[in-house]
């Protein structure tokens, strides 16, 4: 595995079918440590299926799936447990490792994660008392408690208003820069993909049809690559094709 040391995801020849219909056909996906890869495509093209296979929520029919051990998943609907307070929702992220962490370490990790998403003072609230953006922040905090090497996000900002979405994108970009985790982001939003990703994969008919790399060494005032317009145009074209 020495060749994969810097990889967080390695999918080779992955196929998946539902009811005889091929949803993914011979997909290869490799994500390096710290890299952000966006998956875009029309509804039903297999983006979410691919993400769920990476997360281990679905089995591939064929192919090889390898991921890093520390994976966290962010859902479009934030997926908070409605009867648990924010604090308890955040600590749920550590339940898998609860036996290996002291109570104090868990408390510190939860407090730190809530502080990182700027919700330290909302720990006692119920999800119903939060706005959509705040719920997504809690979901992100829950993911951060796992100290992820790989963060999988399934249209996490799709249900938010435009301004909140921009705030969340900035937050995610800042956390990624600070903590260095790799991200696989499923999105319908081409501008969001260009703003956040190092690499954008266009899925169509269960295959990766195009791959666009964004040079993030220089960014404009809004955190986009200088050639973002050209990238967006190319992605629009690829999606229409």
């Amino acid at each position: 595995m020495s060749g994969d040391v810097a990889r967080t995801v390695a999918l080779d020849g992955v196929c998946k079918a539902f009811d005889g219909r091929d949803v993914l056909a011979d997909v290869d996906l490799h994500v390096d440590a710290g890299e952000t890869v966006a998956l875009i495509g029309r509804s039903g093209c297999g983006k979410s299926t691919l993400l769920r296979i990476v997360a281990g929520l679905l089995d591939a029919d064929r192919g090889r799936v390898r991921t890093t051990g520390r994976v966290a998943f962010g859902f479009q609907d934030a997926r908070l447990v409605p009867w648990l307070r924010v604090w308890d929702n955040v600590t749920l992220g550590m339940e898998a490792h609860a036996g290996r962490m002291t109570r104090r370490a868990r408390r510190e990790a939860a407090a730190c994660a809530l502080a990182q998403v700027q919700l330290a003072d909302a720990a006692d609230k119920l999800p119903a008392q939060l706005s959509g953006g705040q719920r997504q922040r809690v979901s992100l905090a829950r993911a951060l408690t796992r100290r992820p090497q790989l963060l999988l996000l399934d249209e996490p900002f799709g249900a938010l208003d435009a301004l909140t979405r921009l705030d969340m994108q900035d937050l995610l970009a800042g956390l990624r820069a600070q903590l260095g985790f790799a991200t696989v982001l499923v999105t319908h939003d081409i501008a969001e993909a260009v703003r956040l990703a190092d690499r954008i994969l266009v899925l169509a008919d269960g295959r990766i049809r195009d791959e666009v790399c964004a040079d993030r060494s220089r960014l404009d005032a809004q955190g986009r690559p200088p050639d973002h317009a050209a990238l967006e145009g190319r992605l629009h074209h690829a999606l229409r094709g």
């Binding site: 595995m1 020495s2 994969d4 040391v5 810097a6 990889r7 967080t8 390695a10 440590a33 710290g34 296979i53 990476v54 997360a55 281990g56 929520l57 089995d59 090889r64 799936v65 390898r66 991921t67 890093t68 051990g69 520390r70 966290a72 998943f73 859902f75 609907d77 997926r79 447990v81 009867w83 648990l84 307070r85 308890d88 749920l92 992220g93 339940e95 898998a96 609860a98 510190e108 990790a109 730190c112 994660a113 809530l114 502080a115 990182q116 700027q118 919700l119 330290a120 003072d121 909302a122 706005s131 705040q134 829950r142 951060l144 100290r147 090497q149 600070q178 903590l179 260095g180 790799a182």
Partner: protein
Amino acid sequence: MSVPEQIGAVTSSALSSTSASSSSAASSATPASCAAPRWVRRTASIGAAWASTLALFALWALCTRSAPDTRALPSPGEVAAAFVALRDEGVLWPSVRVSVLRVLAGLAVGVALAVPAGVVSGASRIGGAIIDKPVHMLRAIPFPALAPLLIVMLGIGEAMKVTLIAVGAFALVYVNVRDGVRAIDPGLIELARAYRMPQHVVFTKILLRGVLPQFMTGLRFAITVSWIALVTCETVNSSVGIGYLLTRSQQFFRTDQMVLCIVLYAALGLLSEWIVGVLERLLRTRG
């Protein structure tokens, strides 16, 4: 669920503590204080809650103002006198105590069996197929029909009485827990799988807590049915219990004692409902 093969760990950067900028939009709006003080509103609320019950008692008193030999229904005063007489006889409080203990024991057994059965049935198709039909058959059998069979199997002692109550409680709690588990958002189960939560965490924090509203509904019905089952089982070889007092008063045509037993059942039912309400609030608070 399969866990994808793990590839070499990447050097992780530890989570660094950052100071909270506490910019969350914590709403601190204070509701405008109402004109009436809190104790006035509380008293008014309690008064409104008891108004219908008091109206029933008033109607009862009004209907029984004539001479005792001109009516079949005893007056509230006569029932109060029967209460004092039975208390002085030394049978009232032991009967109440024994009846309450029988209901508690039956409920405990019924609930203890119904919760796991409901969870298994709700969470697993095979479990549902195995458990559902026998439970539906059992709950369709009236208590007076079931009692003779239990007497043959368990005798006429406490075991038979507790079992009859447990059977009644079991079916109602089971059905509600089963439906509660089926109604849990599948997304939460997917969340548990995505975060590889241990089974006991999924069971306690998602399944059990998720079915709490339906469980409490089932428990309320189960308590009501337990009191009904108690009447049936206390007519069999009982020398103590509210059912025994009721049977005795019927034999001696003491309508005042009969109505007293009915009032006792009603009061204990009300008390049970209050206790369940407190329990529900406690469990919800604990999350």
